[in-house]
């Protein structure tokens, strides 16, 4: 037995009989405390994966298992208790007129008693650093704050996995940083699996594992360091490497061999320093 929390077994999906396959024979597992980034070109099937995990869509072929349950019409309500999703547009996910009401929404839907509800709202807003905004109107918050409230709404139902489906795409750099810090902090504080679906190359470097999708198929499953050492291949499938990897690539082309593929500025600088002092 592995402690795989989500498993895709030979999953294929299309929207209709005469439509092209969006996912083709996709298999992978995600463990209960992993941070997995799913990347791929527009239309590669990334978001479909997210929708299949919590039963917004069902596959025509194959099987999806979440927390020991096969996802189908009968199990979706149980599955959704353990899967929290945050989408791209923060303005499309608000229902409450105050931050508190909004976070309460998911709890009310699940019939959580009032006392317990108030406590959970407090705790989850605290976890995303939004306790001071309890009575604020959600639509007046900044993009980053809105997405943090959306994450709090998801946290309140105590999920075992949180899926961020391009949740930072519409945010400014400060908003993106807020979300990444919030999410990193949560990963350390809670036992949570995290799936981030993203085009942001620097976001990917924080994940423990990367699933690269191409034309509906799993093209590569590896760690960020390995993924970003394949610049040429990534360009071929519409992706790219972040600045640090691109620079390291250029150095190696010019005959400077670094010890390892650097993932961030500190690592690149360390590698350069080592190289420099060895010369």
């Amino acid at each position: 037995m592995t402690n795989s929390f989500i498993e895709f077994r030979n999953v294929s999906f299309r929207y209709g009989k005469d439509q092209p396959w969006v996912l083709k024979n996709v298999s992978f597992t995600i463990d209960s405390n992993e941070w997995v980034a799913v990347i791929g070109h527009n239309g590669s099937g990334k978001s479909t994966i997210a929708k299949l995990i919590n039963g917004l869509l069902f596959p025509q072929e194959g099987e999806i298992i979440v927390d020991g349950l096969t996802v189908n019409e009968h199990t979706i309500w149980d599955v959704r208790k353990s899967v929290g999703m945050v989408f791209q547009n923060p303005d499309n996910q608000f229902v409450g007129t105050t931050v508190r009401d909004d976070v309460a929404f998911g709890l009310e839907n699940r019939g959580v008693p009032r006392e317990d509800m108030l406590k959970r709202i407090d705790v989850s807003l605290g976890q995303v650093g939004m306790s001071d905004y309890l009575l604020h109107e959600p639509h007046r918050l900044s993009g980053g704050q809105k997405q943090r409230v959306a994450i709090a709404g998801v946290l309140a139902i105590s999920p075992k996995v949180i899926i961020l489906d391009e949740a930072t795409a519409m945010l400014d750099p400060k908003g993106r940083l807020e979300i990444m810090q919030t999410v990193s902090h949560l990963r350390q504080a809670e036992q949570l699996a995290l799936i981030t679906i993203t085009h942001d190359l620097n976001e990917i470097t924080r994940a423990s594992r990367v699933i690269v999708m191409n034309k509906g198929e799993v093209w590569l499953e590896s760690n960020p360091r390995d993924v970003f050492s394949r610049k040429e291949d990534l360009l071929q499938i519409g992706l790219d490497t972040p600045f640090v990897a691109t620079f390291a690539d250029e150095l190696s082309r010019q005959g400077i061999k670094l010890g390892k593929q650097p993932l961030n500025h500190e690592e690149l600088m360390d590698e350069l320093w080592t190289y420099h002092s060895k010369m």
């Binding site: 527009n42 400014d172 519409g238 600045f243 400077i256 350069l272």
Partner: protein, 288 residues
Amino acid sequence: MDISFKNVTYTYQPNTPFEHRAIHDLSFTIKSGSFVAIVGHTGSGKSTLIQHLNGLLRPTEGQVKIGDYTLSADKKVKDIKELRSKVGVVFQYPEHQLFEETIAKDIAFGPENFGVGEEEVKKRVHETIHAVQLSEQLLDRSPFDLSGGQMRRVAIAGVLAMEPQVLVLDEPTAGLDPRGQQDIMNMFYQLHHQKGLTTILVTHSMEDALKYADHVIIMDHGTKYMEGKPTEVFQRKRELEKVQLDVPEIVQFLFGVEKQLGISIAYRGQTIAELATELVEELRSRNL
């Protein structure tokens, strides 16, 4: 077209409890034919600024000039329609505004609305579908059968079909994959030069501002915070940090090189490859 803002203030819902001053005392000029990036955080006034460019908003105080058109509180532009045909705005996620049955009809909608003749509209539809690098064979298909990136191109073609002299781009790459982002920015850059446009790019990406713009305006709290050549403005790390903006990664990296390796390389807009060469030369020359 030359564009100028002179002491412009804009207040939403003035004299009500909801009164909100989105921009204040904003002045700058944009020379005809330049490519200008406007950078700043959410809420810094960028969206309010660009809505003045085609007369969707009129300043509460001060004066906006776009070519021969003047916008001010007491003066309505007579030919607002004419202004709007000359200033094309590509809003965020423009593909959400597609609605016609076919791509050809969607592209034609703008110019038809501005009274352009049938033959001329046809000609423009064919020209612009090429300009956005899509196949003419798509013209009779529904825009909703396309991928997100292609739909965005169709929406952009619709703006180009009005043959604007000024092109305003509000976060045009949001939501696209890395190749899509690069392709669309390269396309705008080409169009800018081919058609001699004045291009105004609103972006969060310091990288894009650095790569494409010849002038950058940094907004903060509803007014201009800094402006200048991107290669110069983006060196001013401390000032940018004050308004919670980062310098581009490439500049950040050079600061690190100077601090940790004691090698100082001035940033003059080099490519990554050129910088790597300079750094390698520096490293080697030190160890001779």
